[in-house]
């Protein structure tokens, strides 16, 4: 019997039920938020909707600094603050809600592997595009990232973040890649997701899991965010089952709700609607 170790952080006490005033914090959605952060935030929102846990989205310019791990989004539930999808899934599980309980061990392993694939390839490609592609950096990222702050703080903050992201890209070997190679990686990742999804409604057939939330977050954001070129969204559009998947989740979990959440989803920094 293999030794199973408890992974992740200490989980929150499971005694308190989910409060009504749970809040999810992200950056300002019209002016400030970037592609990768938007994707992560949407993934968490989708996950919480799938678990039927109400949460309101609060936009703050300094969300990144408020977060315990420096990354958005983070949720404020009762007196706990948890950031990023992985720890949030574990936190929600400790409260008794879980989407992946019905999976057997091999399926759980597969789910974790595919989540790592999305993080490894899609998220890194988004970060590359935002921070290492000079055209996008000049036209979109620098103006947006520091927009709530006065000059020169806005430029300093965005240069600092760019330096950090480029260091990380160099450490993992992505600094030497060209944009074409990165887009090819995105294509390969989408192809893998498309082949895994096949004709099923969700990745593990009948019920959505956190993998569906994560994939939805990233793909929907890529499809609806206007960048300097359309190449990234074209790569995703090549796979019709993925666009159908995004549309299905949007309709099921976001449009059926009250006006606030639907405008949250639909009013991106994006100018295009998915249902075009």
């Amino acid at each position: 019997m293999p030794v199973m170790e408890r992974t992740g952080r200490k989980s929150a006490p499971a005694t308190e039920p989910w409060p009504e005033n749970a809040a999810l914090y992200q950056q300002l959605k019209e002016e400030q938020i970037l592609l990768s952060d938007n994707a992560s935030s949407l993934a968490v929102q989708a996950f919480l909707q799938m678990c039927n846990l109400p949460v309101r989205v609060v936009c703050r310019a300094n969300a990144e600094y408020m977060s315990p791990s420096g990354k958005v989004p983070f949720i404020h539930v009762g007196n706990q603050v948890v950031s990023e999808l992985g720890p949030i899934v574990q936190f929600v599980k400790a409260k008794g809600h879980s989407l992946s309980d019905g999976l057997d061990e091999v399926q759980k392993a597969e789910m974790k592997a595919y989540m790592e694939l999305v993080n490894n390839m899609l998220l890194t490609a988004e970060l590359y595009l935002q921070w290492c592609d000079d055209v996008t950096v000049e036209e979109i990222t620098h103006p947006r990232y520091g927009s709530p702050y006065p000059w020169p703080l806005n430029r300093i903050l965005s240069y600092q973040k760019q330096w950090e992201v480029r260091r990380k890209m160099k450490a993992i070997g992505w600094a030497g890649k060209t944009l074409e190679q990165v887009l090819e990686d995105v294509d390969q990742c989408c192809q893998a997701l498309s082949q895994r999804l096949g004709t099923q409604p969700y990745f593990f057939n009948k019920q959505p899991t956190e993998l569906d939330a994560l994939v939805f977050g990233h793909l929907f954001t890529i499809l609806t965010t206007q960048l300097t070129t359309d190449e990234l969204s074209e790569k995703v559009k090549n796979y019709s089952n993925l666009t159908a998947f995004c549309r299905r989740i949007e309709q099921q979990y976001f449009e059926g709700h009250d006006k606030d959440s639907s405008t949250t989803v639909a009013a991106r920094s994006a100018k295009r609607s998915l249902l075009r």
């Binding site: 293999p2 030794v3 199973m4 170790e5 408890r6 992974t7 992740g8 315990p68 791990s69 420096g70 990354k71 061990e105 091999v106 759980k108 392993a109 597969e110 974790k112 592997a113 595919y114 790592e116 694939l117 993080n119 490894n120 390839m121 260091r167 990380k168 450490a171 993992i172 070997g173 390969q188 990742c189 192809q191 893998a192 997701l193 082949q195 895994r196 096949g198």
Partner: protein, 285 residues
């Protein structure tokens, strides 16, 4: 006939053809797909490899990362994955991403960052295979790069000290090993009875953990509690790599035996000639 292909990579020890995970992945894939690679292990000579190791050189083409090398081999019709379905191909990518995210940091830490391991095993081994005076500098640089990678990818808040980061990466690595063990179950390879790209990558990452004798071995101890993964590594070593070692030894033995037989025959003939002459002399006398 395809152009001859040469692979330049780190050599092996402790029963492994190579200690370097990426070199081992490429060598395993070449064996699985039947690609005729000439393997040159890096040694003390001044012929430094042209890029990051492993490097594949075929005529004028130089390719350096494992994923790209494998793509090149597939284009040359050495494909170990042709029997896989589309979904299995997708699973391969996903599991490789899992290995790189969860297992690689702990592997790098065990080899290059853990002080006792680095000073007593890794540094002397690599230094002995690099020409002087680069042997004084290169292992240190590789160690700093490994630490840098670990800290940049896993070291953000709320983990503020190296010990917390280390604890987290080892937890993740052990979880990853458990997941791989569950996925492998009782079958011989990850996708049935023939080895594929995923088997090459898993073997490349697991075999160094399994075989190399370090002073600090918490990952190895965890791996030894997962018997199907140990059996997986041993099977690949015996079926695909030991043959060359055994074959060489056997050939040596045959050669020695043949020489011995020849010498004996020569000796016998010489004696008989002498005895014959003696007899004829005696007869003559």
């Amino acid at each position: 006939m395809a152009a001859p292909m040469e692979l330049s990579c780190w050599g092996g020890d402790w029963g492994l053809p190579s200690l370097h995970p990426e070199s081992l992945t490429v060598m395993a894939y070449a064996k699985f797909s039947g690609a005729p690679l000439t393997v040159n292990t890096i040694n003390n000579s001044w012929r430094a490899p042209k890029g990051d190791v492993p490097v594949l050189i075929s005529e004028d083409i130089v390719i350096s990362q494992p994923a790209k090398i494998l793509n090149f081999l597939r284009k040359q019709k050495y494909n170990a994955d042709y029997e896989l379905s589309a979904k299995q191909g997708a699973d391969t990518l996903a599991y490789i991403a899992l290995l790189e995210e969860k297992l690689l940091p702990a592997l790098l830490h065990t080899f290059w960052v853990e002080a006792e391991n680095y000073c007593s095993v890794t540094k002397p081994w690599f230094a002995s295979r690099i020409a002087f005076p680069l042997s004084l500098y290169l292992p240190g640089r590789m160690s700093r790069e490994a630490l840098n990678r670990i800290l940049l990818t896993r070291g953000g808040p709320p983990l503020y000290s190296l010990t917390e980061v280390e604890a987290q990466i080892y937890r993740d690595a052990k979880e990853c090993l458990n997941l791989l063990s569950k996925r492998l179950g009782t079958s011989q390879f990850f996708f049935g009875d023939t080895p594929t790209t995923l088997d090459a990558f898993v073997f490349g990452f697991l075999a160094p953990i399994y075989k190399v004798c370090f002073p600090r071995v918490q990952l190895q101890e965890h791996l030894k509690q997962l018997p199907n993964l140990c059996r997986f590594c041993d099977d690949i070593l015996t079926c695909y790599f030991r043959l060359t070692v055994l074959g060489f030894a056997y050939f040596n033995e045959i050669k020695t035996q043949a020489i011995y037989d020849y010498l004996r025959a020569v000796l016998q003939r010489t004696c008989m000639l002498h005895m014959g002459r003696g007899r004829s002399n005696a007869a003559a006398v």
